[in-house]
Symmetry: D2
Subunit: 351 residues, 4 copies
């Protein structure tokens, strides 16, 4: 019963079946195939706008490529201090941009505020050669804390970006989870709110390995193809990447998967919140639950065979629990029951 | 009837089935799964030595990552002037190495000779700060001309590399095709002949998108994991990459696929060689045929629905024909028949 | 009367004369000249050890080159959050290292403590591919806050570095000022305390434009010559760079210059400290004084023709005052008198 | 008697005197000084156009910085196969551009022809993601073979550049020598002929270490300041760099120096050309003479104390002889006499 990561879950059957279908016959390589074209069509429809799509296989490559076309080597990219791009990609953005600097800003529940961004930009020495130059802001949607940005929040940050001449990137590794959580339209929380370029994730939500850099501003697309190729992220048999995205987007699979994962997280959060001694660190707005539990309960859960991460270190009691498109309700119920039982025992002891 | 590239063929059914099998349950991410471990075991057995394996999804990433651990930013990498790394990767090796220089050497039939390598190294200003420093040699096996290096040839080049303190990389995008062509053992044409690091290809030979950097010298492996991650080539759901490699290596599928592709190329080459006015540019030792045909025959073949590349430009008559694991004998026969028919007509005209 | 920066002062007459002397005749280029050799000899003697010297013209190049041989592209470099390398070099270290990450740590009076370094390293995820890898620590001597590290403090940080397998760099842009402040020997606060590589500054202390990367660990020197050349920092007419360093080191000029600058800073600090409403932000241990003054006094000083920087922004009252090898005692006295006069008037008003 | 390189000669007395004058008082750092402004004014006047100037200290940095603003990381830079940027800068342009590829083209007497450039561009796969993209052409003026491009030749190459959307860089390490050789105006052989950006050299022609990136297209200047700073080429005490350029340009010193050097080269070439068994490899149009001499004469010259380079290797008989602003007529005469004497003796032997 794995609550470690949505990365550790498999793929939706529909997506595997799409791979099998895509295998028929030969097909032009490197994206000159009909499936890739269809993915672009689908995304145009879903986002209600013209756009350019670059399928890739990993979130780190999507983020790093996106950032490489909006930040020069001497640029600064503003993000939350716990953003995946800043702490979990082994310097991917620095590699792809040729040495841009990630500037981490604090912010409650994993979110940047427009005020903090504005304050950081005001002190950024724009135009002074001694300092890296503000180039881009990157938001994670859903955030690394399992929360989501409202359209208005994105818009306010985008306004600050525009005022200072910066571009806005969205790391949408869990974009679907954020979307269904908000009940918003894809356009509303992206380009209409000022997002220039989006890492559109599918791997965590039922694909095998598929993401897409979605470029809303065509001017940014010119370089991206070359950068993707030289980074080794242009697949020869692209149809197998596009087939995943195609099936993901068809018939609302991506939304169904995300809704299920979110529902499981909500149920988990509600169940755990009722346990004496438990404390939710962040609102569970997408498919992640951050909960502080008594040490004894944590050990009990592990002994019962549940897998999860202690979030801040091996001797800490904050857990990150991630649900996925195929997390079973019975596993969630079992987790809550186990936590309740072990926490109660711990409380007895203390008493 | 596609003879454009082995990249345009699909995947072996066995490999698709392996994906479906790999989809059961959850699995630790980022390579901490049993399938990835099994791929490493299989490769150790196949290569009869200790080694470290880094699965990736594309040949460009395998090559660029491999070169990034054997050439410093101020290094020179010697390769054939038509090597894929030099002309078809949009500067991937330069990106990954931080600006190393690819030095292209001439060589008949796509192959470097030990003499030419030795001569180039002798004039390379080793130790002089004004010049990039010889760091590595890269051989493509099978070559971009569809030929193969004999073990002795690899060994002679490796000896030159060692004499001058260089590392030896092998771009094995079509390694299986070379291997079965030579009837050699994998060890014989790699580490025993002096290869330090190998890009082991599977995508062109029946995988969806799977390659592996195979590191024979453990010292080179230390950096590779970090470089792969920051380049965005560490898959979260690695099991789906490893499942492809696992099925590829199981029960000799990789060798069967390569044998078939090679046999089709040989048949094609033999058939075309008999056509008056046709000329094979290189011996067809693997799964590629380079043939010069009369312009009229080329147009006729295209009109008959055959797909292929003119190799040196749109107004040139050298064709590259590539066969794959699933190329049909009937397609090969049809191609030869069409070429014969159109060439004959062309000859009539001339006469 | 310029207290803005030691960078805004000229050159010692002895150094200009050395340039004229160095101009006689022809001389082999790129460092193959006797003056460059003599600089290395002098530094070996001064540091009482074997070492390798790479003269360059700027502090940013010295720092960036030094860091590029001790941190890989996926490395983390720990430094004070206000370190020059982190905030004033427009991403120079990121450029030269190929994208390493500078990790800024807090610390009183511009100094890192061994404890904070140790804590940061303990949480650095060593060996985990998702995170940049701790590679180096960089200390500034004297610090950006005008304070100095004692030999014991350097040693404690070096011990933490060694424990975790990191290299230790010292940014000695104001090395002479630190040295004479401490009354230590050069060896004592560098290699004997565990420094692997030093940016040895001269420009701020009387040279026109001359620094030297001093490499205590010969293993680090192998790459440096190539990296310096490709960065464009190998001077053809090197004798003119070396002549500056030679004269700087001859007859203790560097120490005399630094002693004077430090004495002027001390006098300035003492004079200002006595003014009601003034507050020294840091001990003035080298040639910089950080003093908070009443706004009215600051305006009065500016009106009297004194030049200086407001340190934290145009509407802030913390001044940085820098003295140099040729700062006049009378200018210092005049500054104090002006500050006193204006501060008194300000106090009258308040009263 | 040094004919090895103009780099091995010293500085013009006028330039050293300018340094002494520039040393008076304090001056704002990093180029905010009046001397730097004056250099820009002078160059605007000399080039009869608006332009932006970035003083640096070395030719490699000038070239690499210039190229970094006209070629993206995935760009191709076309130059002569013997261009300094391609063979003598240890990969500087690759470093600064983030991995662009230098494409060396053949060409008689060190010069590219418009036809060859056009042919190379025609086959460059513009817009195809597998290949680096043509971005810039770089001409060396005077060339590495001691020849010069006529305005019409530059113009023809610039026309090819424009047709294909490329930028044109001129490496003017010996710009003054080319200029006086041609008797052209600076404008005529640069921006009027289509040059976008120029490395304007002074070091080889009498400065200590001073070059300037001269940007004719202001759009290219925006990034250059940041790139110069992060590369460590922004001098704090910039006045000492600008003072050199100022004196170099004042009163036609740069032209006088170049005229003398060229005259000495011409005399040398004429004298050597008359020697039986000698052969000039290239016309001596600037301040370099490439002459093939009998081995015995070469040894005799060396024995007589003359210093020079054998150009193609230690066992080859092609010499490069470089004259400078202060090469003495008597040294030239002595060289010719020595060569004559030794050649005659050699001829006797042969006879």
């Amino acid at each position: 019963m794995n609550f470690r990561s949505d990365n550790e879950h498999g793929a939706s059957p529909e997506i595997l079946e799409a791979l099998a279908r895509a295998n028929a016959g030969t097909s032009h390589a490197y994206g000159e195939d009909p499936l890739t074209a269809r993915v672009e069509s689908r995304l145009k429809e879903i986002f209600e706008t013209d756009l350019v799509v670059f399928p890739v296989a990993t979130g780190t490559s999507a983020n790093s490529l996106a950032l490489s076309v909006i930040a020069p080597p001497f640029g600064a990219i503003y993000c939350h201090s716990e953003a995946h791009i800043a702490v979990d990609e082994c310097g991917g953005p620095e590699f792809y941009t040729g040495g841009a600097k990630l500037v981490g800003l604090a912010g409650e529940h994993g979110k940047l505020s427009a005020e903090d961004v504005e304050a950081a930009l005001a002190g950024a020495h724009k135009g002074v050669v001694h300092h890296v130059q503000p180039a881009a802001i990157s938001l994670t949607q859903a955030t690394e804390a399992g929360t989501v940005y409202r359209a208005g929040e994105v818009d306010a940050i985008a306004a600050a970006a525009r005022r200072h001449g910066l571009r806005l990137h969205m790391d949408g590794a869990r974009f679907a989870n954020a979307l269904v959580s908000l009940g918003a339209s894809p356009a509303e929380i992206t380009w209409r709110a000022g997002v220039d370029i989006l890492s559109f994730g599918a791997s965590k939500n039922g694909a095998l390995a598929a993401e897409a850099v979605v470029v809303f501003d065509r001017a940014l697309a010119a370089e991206l193809g070359f950068r993707r190729k030289r980074a080794g992220h242009l697949f020869s048999k692209m149809r197998f990447l596009s087939a995943q995205l195609d099936a993901y987007l068809a018939d609302g699979l991506w939304l169904r998967n995300a809704r299920h994962a979110n529902a499981m997280a909500r149920r988990l959060a509600e169940g755990l919140a009722r346990i004496p001694g438990a404390r939710l660190a962040h609102p569970a707005e997408a498919n992640e639950v951050f909960v502080d539990l008594p040490e004894h309960a944590i050990r009990g859960l592990a002994a019962d065979g549940f897998e999860f991460y202690r979030w801040l270190g091996e001797n800490r009691t904050l857990l990150r629990l991630v649900t996925a498109f195929d997390t079973k309700e019975s596993d969630v119920a079992a987790f809550i029951a186990s936590a309740e039982r072990h926490a109660a025992r711990a409380n007895e002891r203390v008493a």
